[in-house]
């Protein structure tokens, strides 16, 4: 009741004395529509240019299904690796002091700043059979470059900062005293983590996971160099879109794009809802 009343009041209240509301909001909407919304609509409209039957035929073709399975599967594995190591990295960066900590902390953002093509050729050079790491793995019978494993490596690199940067602020706010209280009451380190720390962290962990996953699904530049790009085996969905575009198969390219966009947007709204829920929960405590 109280909220409805305040909303109604807000509606009647003058906007204040600051100028420029119409200009800035109008420009924002215009720019957003021209550069983002209208071009994005083109994808949905073009994907149905061949009719529903054709759309369905394209997205259920074995090669398309294999590429979607690979893109989403590899992203899932990479995001999981990032959750595990991202938790360790952010914990270490927040709780402990050690030499060059500031430098290492700044380096975590490297995957944001390094162009994806550069990351792609660097990882390929490292994991190729004659590379620094690849040459050591080859005698063990493990090949990373030009296999799906290489895709996971590239996607892990790309997603690394998302988990760390989502967890850090939450860990910084987490009270050390709570753990100390748990320890003084006889909880082991593992018990303290599972019962005290993890419940406070999991919304941030899930958000970081979802952000890393969403980024990985669409990733192109870092993957195509290391993937080998064999149809049915190591061909990611974005590459298939590029292939179809080069053959002027717009209906096919847009059909795959629609599947990816719908899944990505659903994920994004999920992340937003999760963050809203977590922040209200945090506020109530």
């Amino acid at each position: 009741m109280a909220t409805t009343a305040s909303v109604a009041l807000k509606g009647r209240k003058p906007r204040g004395i600051l100028p420029g509301f119409g200009l800035t909001l109008g420009y924002t909407m215009l720019y957003l529509c021209l550069l983002v919304l209208i071009p994005l609509c083109a994808v949905f409209i073009r994907s149905l240019s061949g009719g529903w039957g054709h759309f369905w035929e394209v997205v259920t073709a074995p090669r398309v299904l294999a590429s979607l399975r690979l893109s989403f599967g590899a992203s899932l594995i990479a995001a999981s690796i990032n959750v595990l190591f991202g938790l360790i990295v952010s914990w270490v960066l927040v709780r402990y002091t050690f030499p060059f900590k500031r430098f290492i902390d700044a380096m975590v953002d490297l995957p944001f700043a390094l162009p994806t093509a550069v990351a792609g050729i660097a990882l390929t050079a490292l994991y190729a059979p004659n590379g620094w790491i690849g040459a050591r793995l080859a005698p063990l019978g493990i090949s990373v470059a030009f296999t799906p494993l290489g895709i996971v490596v590239a996607l892990t690199f790309i997603g690394l900062p998302f988990v760390v940067r989502t967890l850090q602020p939450v860990l910084e706010e987490l009270d050390k005293e709570v753990e100390q209280a748990a320890a003084s009451l006889g909880a082991s380190a593992v018990q303290a983590f599972c019962r005290v720390i993890f419940p406070a962290l999991w919304p941030a962990l899930l958000t970081g996971f979802a952000l890393a996953f969403a980024r990985a699904v669409g990733e192109y530049g870092s993957v195509i160099f290391i993937a080998g790009n064999m149809p049915m085996r190591s061909e990611i969905a974005p590459l298939l879109i590029v292939g179809k575009l080069e053959q002027y198969d717009y209906a096919g390219a847009t059909a795959i794009a629609v599947v990816m966009l719908v899944l990505s947007f659903a994920l994004m709204f999920g992340i937003n809802a999760l963050q809203n829920w977590a922040s209200t929960r945090h506020g109530e405590r």
Binding site: L18, F21, V89, M107, V118, P169, G218, P238, Y250, S279
Partner: protein
């Protein structure tokens, strides 16, 4: 003991995934000595790529800067219906694969696109030309500045501006003399991140560029061409310039975060409105 184990694990993971790839770029670039490196980066095609990259970032970043300031002003200083929907829409390009970001402009401006006939009749090339690269770059870097500025402006509130206006300043004077100095570090932070992505974008630009040497090749695309020609030293030489740009970006980012600690996680938690007390 547990503490040491965690630190070592974290450092090994970061070393393996961050430091080694970075070292590999410079090691490969200098594998044949400084002479070969210098020859590789002084090729005319490499310079054409550098110039195009600077041109594209020089157009895309200022346009997104103007948009970012306008969007942040509207969102942070006023209450209106659909505000959170607008913020979500601004973030939308982050959820779009770079390849799809390039494709949408082919669908609109390509030969078989919505405006294809019109553009051909007037001899205007957008796709497979510089304008298409600029459009794709604007799309992928669209949210960067806006999402840094919105939390900064929200935290600052509107008391300073209202004071300036009540003392007789015009709207523009208020903006230039009061708002802009208040948000300058946040602005610079957003520009830095936006620029790094604009200069390094690969997927979206690759789709719209048409890969025409010396004409539509940005630096990341030039790296790909050299790499696919097995010209590894030259590919890594150009890549090392981009890696240096990335390191400079990280250094600049750290300096700004040290000056303004609240920038650090600002964009990650837009709903924490820590109100600054105005003095």
């Amino acid at each position: 003991m547990g503490r040491l184990l965690l630190i070592v694990t974290a450092l090994l993971f970061l070393g393996l995934f961050l430091v080694l790839p970075l070292l590999a770029v410079f090691a490969q670039a200098l594998a044949k000595g400084f002479g070969a490196y210098y020859i590789a980066i002084s090729q005319p095609m490499a310079w054409a790529a550098v110039k195009l990259t600077l041109l594209v970032a020089g157009i895309a970043v200022p346009l997104n800067l103007i948009f970012g300031v306008a969007a942040a002003w509207a969102v942070a200083k006023f209450d209106f219906r659909g505000k959170s929907a607008l913020i979500t829409l601004i973030d939308l390009p982050f959820a779009v694969s770079p390849v799809i970001a390039g494709m949408i402009f082919i669908l609109v401006f390509g030969t078989h696109g919505w405006f294809g006939g019109f553009l051909r009749a007037h001899h205007i090339r957008v796709v497979f030309a510089v304008p298409g690269i600029v459009l794709a770059t604007i799309f992928v870097t669209f949210p960067f500045i806006a999402r840094e500025l919105i939390p900064v402006m929200q935290a600052q509130g509107k008391d300073d501006e209202e004071t300036a206006l009540s003392l007789g300043a015009t709207g523009w004077q208020t903006f230039w003399r009061v708002t802009l100095p208040n948000i300058r570090w946040g602005l610079l932070y957003g520009v830095l991140l936006c620029n790094a992505r604009a200069m390094g974008e690969f997927g979206a630009v690759s789709v719209v560029s048409g890969h025409i040497r010396g004409v539509t090749n940005t630096m990341p695309l030039h790296v790909e061409i050299l790499y696919n020609e097995y010209n590894y030293t030259a590919a890594f030489a150009v890549a090392s310039l981009l890696a240096l740009l990335a390191l400079l970006t990280l250094a600049g980012k750290s300096i700004l975060e040290w000056r303004q600690p609240e920038l650090r996680h600002a964009a990650r938690r837009p709903r924490d409105r820590t109100r600054r007390v105005n003095t």
